[in-house]
Structures are given as C-alpha cells and as structure tokens.
C-alpha cells in the first residue's frame, strides 16, 4: 500500500514566537507526572498501607532495588506478548476478512467468537498447560486468544461499512470478489484495523501476564504473583508499571505504523 509522507497541514498559522512551550509534546510527561503526584497524595491522605497501595515513590524504590529480575522478566513477557500479538494480528485479520467475505461464515462464526470472548481467558489456561506444559507456549497462546477478537470485529466492521460506490469501481471492471477484498476491502478497513491494534496489544499483555501468573517460572506475571504472596506489594506495582511502559511502547509503534499506513484517512483537523 502506498504511504502518505507529505505534510497535510493545509494552511500555515501565523508564525508564533519561538519561545512558546510546545504543550502537545509535553502533555504525556505532564499528565504522567500529574498522575503520579495525585497517586502519591491519595496514598498519603487515605493512609492506605503500602502493602495495599504503595505510593509511587516506594514503587520506584522497588524498581531500582529489583531492577535485574524486573528487567529479565519484562523481556520474557515482552517476548511472549509480542509473539501472541503477531499471531493475533495475522489470525484476526484473516478471520475478519473471512467474516466480511461470506454471510454464512459471518452468521455462523461470529456468535461463537462472541461467546468465546465473553469467557475469561484465565479459565482456559489450565487446559493449555495440560497440553503444552507451563512456560512460554501457554502465555503466547493466551495473549493470542485474548487479543484476536478486537481485530476481527474491527476488520469486519471496516469491511461492512465500505461505501458501495467504492466497490462499484472494481465491480465494474469485472473484478472477482478476491480482487475487491484486496484492492478495496483491505485498504478501506485499515483505519479500523489500526484502531483495533491499539486495543489488541494491551489485551495481549494482559493475556500473557495472567497466563504467567498461573503457569510459568518467569515473566512479569510470575514475578508479581510471587511478590504478592510475599507482601512485596511495591514490587507488584513495579511490575504493573513495567507492563504499562511496555504497553505504551508497543502502542507508540502501532500509532507510528498507523500514521504511515493510513495517513490518507487521518486528514481531519478536528483535534487541535
């Protein structure tokens, strides 16, 4: 697919004084700091023990103190998540297209998938463990199972909302359904697809972590479970923060890909 590299800013605004602060660039940092400050205050005011809700300052201590295990386990979780997510992307896209392809498949498969997704995936981990042993495989599979559905739904929605006028361009050429899918269906549903990736990647992290909690000797899930049983709650929160950081990193990657791939769709000037 072609990519949009041009700058879409249609009209330049009058030049601004150079010393103005770029609030947009700063916003993520400011909001995050704000969140931590609020959190710290909330802990101080509510007087919750650090074995329930540790203050961020304590959590950072824990991060520093346990950096080596945190780092190793983060890598492991990152690895299983990414693997599961990639499988989910491929499978989700494929199933989404399949569902968009045929009404019979749609009618049959969709309800089953919806039902499947209303089930907490943690209930399936035992079965995966029996089949694949503990460790990486069930984590990857859980990440996959939990994250493919949003992709399916969005790809299918994207396909279902294609304007018939656009399809007609290809149909008039005697294009086969496959061609229409490839040339119109897939590109047109890309904005939906990328929207879903942002949801899917966060779910993938949740999936691999819950699987690690139940059945793994490493990974953040395992680390947090053992920390929890030791009342080392700051370490649990350190794990959660690492998860959040990894999630944000992957999200940034998705957002970057989205901008490259679907720049044509992101021309709105609303958010300003």
């Amino acid at each position: 697919m072609s990519t949009v590299t041009e700058n879409n800013a249609v009209a330049a605004t009058p030049p601004k004084p150079a010393f103005r602060i770029n609030w947009i660039k700063l916003a993520p940092v400011l909001y995050t700091i704000g969140l931590f400050v609020l959190w710290e205050l909330a802990v101080i005011i509510s007087g919750l023990p650090h074995t329930v809700l540790p203050a961020p300052s304590r959590v950072f201590q824990a991060i520093v103190q346990y950096w080596s295990p945190i780092w190793k386990n983060s890598l492991q979780t990152f690895y299983t998540t990414t693997l599961g997510f990639l499988i989910a992307v491929v499978a989700g896209m494929a199933i989404g297209l399949l569902i968009g392809w045929s009404r019979a498949i749609y009618a049959g498969l969709y309800p089953i998938m919806v039902g499947f997704n209303a089930i907490p995936k943690v209930a399936l981990v035992p079965i995966l463990v029996i089949w694949f042993g503990i460790g990486t495989v069930p984590a990857v599979l859980t990440a996959f199972l939990i994250s493919f559905f949003p992709i399916v739904v969005n790809v299918a929605t994207g396909l279902a909302t294609i304007e018939p006028e656009t399809e007609d361009v290809l149909r008039a050429l005697g294009a086969k359904k496959m061609d229409i899918m490839l040339k119109v269906g897939i590109p047109r549903s890309m904005p939906y697809f990328f929207g879903s990736l942002k949801v899917a990647i966060t779910l993938a992290f949740v999936g691999s972590v819950i699987s690690e909690t139940v059945a793994s000797n490493n990974g953040l899930g395992n680390m947090m479970a053992s920390a929890q049983s030791q009342f080392n709650v700051p370490l649990v929160f350190a794990g959660l923060i690492m998860l959040a950081v990894e999630g944000i990193a992957m999200y940034a990657l998705m957002a970057w890909l989205e901008r490259r791939m679907t720049g044509w769709a992101h021309r709105s000037s609303m958010a300003a």
């Binding site: 023990p49 329930v52 981990v125 035992p126 029996i130 503990i134 909690t213 395992n222 049983s229 030791q230």
Partner: protein, 323 residues
Amino acid sequence: MAATPAMAQTDIRFTLDWRFEGPAAGFLLAEDNGYFEEEGLNVTIDTGNGSVEAIPRVATGAYDMGFGDINSLIKFLDEDPSQPVEAVMMIYDKPVFSVVGRKSLGVTEDPASLEGKTLGAPPPDGAFAQWPAFVEAADIDTSDITIENIGFPVREPMLASGDVDAVFGFSFSVVLNLLANGVPEDDISTILFADNGLDLYGNAILVNETFAEENPDAVEGFLRALAKGFADAVADPEAGAQAVLTRNETLNLETETRRLEMANETNIRTPYVVENGFGDVDMARLSDSIEMLGTSMDLEGNVTAEEVFNPDYLPPAEERMLP
C-alpha cells in the same frame, strides 16, 4: 436475623479466608444457630480470596474481623508494624501446610523422599511460602529439587497426570482434589510440615484494632459465639456441611463433610486443644514460630508474639472446650 433484637445490635463485617467450604462450617453454624444474635451481633460473613488477602482487608478496615493465616500476619506486621490488625483467636492449631505426593512417583511420607523430584507450587500458596523454613527444619537437600510455578487450577491435574511428583498445598484440599482427579487414595502421601519439625500455627481470627478498641464486648461476644459454632461443627460435621451447602448449592454434601472432618481431625481438634481449649496459643511456641519464619519469610524482626496475638478477648477456657 428475623428475630427482633433485644438490644442494640453491633454490625460486624467478617471475611473468611476462602469460599464457603466445609472448614468454614464453624462460622456458619455460629450464625445459623443464632449464637451471634445471642451476643447482640449482626454479622455479615463474606467469602475470601485466600488466607493472605484477608489480612489487608481487616487491616484497612474494609472488614472488621476476618479469618487469615497468622504466619502471613507476622510477615505483614513485620513489613509495617503500625498496621491496626492482630489475631485474637487461633483456629488451626496445627497448620495445614503440606507437600502432597504420589507414592507411585516415589514420594513417601518422609521429607527426604522429595530430593531429586519436581514439585509444583502456586506462588501465592501458604504452604509454599513456608518451604524455606521447612527445608531447614526437615534438613532436606534442595540441590536437585525442581520447583515449577503452577497455578491452583492446574495443581492437582498436573500431579494426577504425573507432570510433577508432588505439590504444595493445604492437605485437606489437595487430597480431596486428587481423589476427584481419579488418584487412588492409597497412592497419596501427605507430608505435613507440622509433623516434620516445622511447628507453626495456622489460620486465626483477625480483628481490626481500632474496631476492637471501640467494641471490645462485640469482639468478645463474637469469639464466644464462634467457640460454640466450632464445637457444633466438631460434634456434627454433617450439620456443618449442610450449613455450607445452603450458601453454595453446587457443593457435594459428602465431600464437604469429609473436608470438614479432615480439618477437625488434623488442624482444629489437636491434642493441645483438647487439653487447653480451643482458640488459645502458647506464646512460647508462637515466638518460636516467628523465629522460624525469619528464614522463610525474610523477617526484619519488627514483631513479637504479643504484637501478633492478643488473647484478651478470649472467653474463659471452659467455654472453649471442643466435644
């Protein structure tokens, strides 16, 4: 609850260690047989999510009283001694911590038979938490023992299928679950930590100190009622199991009776309890156990037995005798 209270009732929010299962019968009978009401108490009994999580629930005041593991309480108070939580009545005089293995896989009742084996351990499991202390107490060579992190849902199936040779857990749960998984009873070998040198206490009644200071009579009354409830559960386990079943219809009467009986025999009605009454602790033994926990739980040494257990609310020993 239908009866009009004679006097102003005190509300008590109480959290169990776990779900409504056989061993909770004592609490439920105290409620169903009206013992709480007699004491002027209006008790709400909620299920718990492990004997560890009950502690912060009580410490933060989300619950006034609860049922949790005293060893975890020691760790909890060691982390932050200012927390307003203490134990006021001991229920499991002998803890249920154990390693359960299968004879056919070479695990016998002797702790040494664990050497060279693969053990399955759910990280939040109370028994697993005591493993380091147990290793020391029973003098086990851990150099070729493999520990696999397996969650609760897969613990017994993995032992049943031979993926691991033994698992950590509460004896009565694991044994019954293994039976449910089709392991013959005579293949099961239970290594109870308490029988092999690790002389700890088990689950106790916890109370939020602020609440207790404001309502000393209510706490006392609660414990008195509870002693009657547990006496009833020991006297008639089937009635106890029945009380559990009214709260969770999906249970099996026979299994719960069995579970309750096992808890009674092994953990509650110990020789010490038969002799001295139910609910009290031997402060020396408790101090020793804090010592022992130092190894397994990395204690800083911030707590003493007196800070953990407060016997002041206990009714006189004669009211606490078990049949």
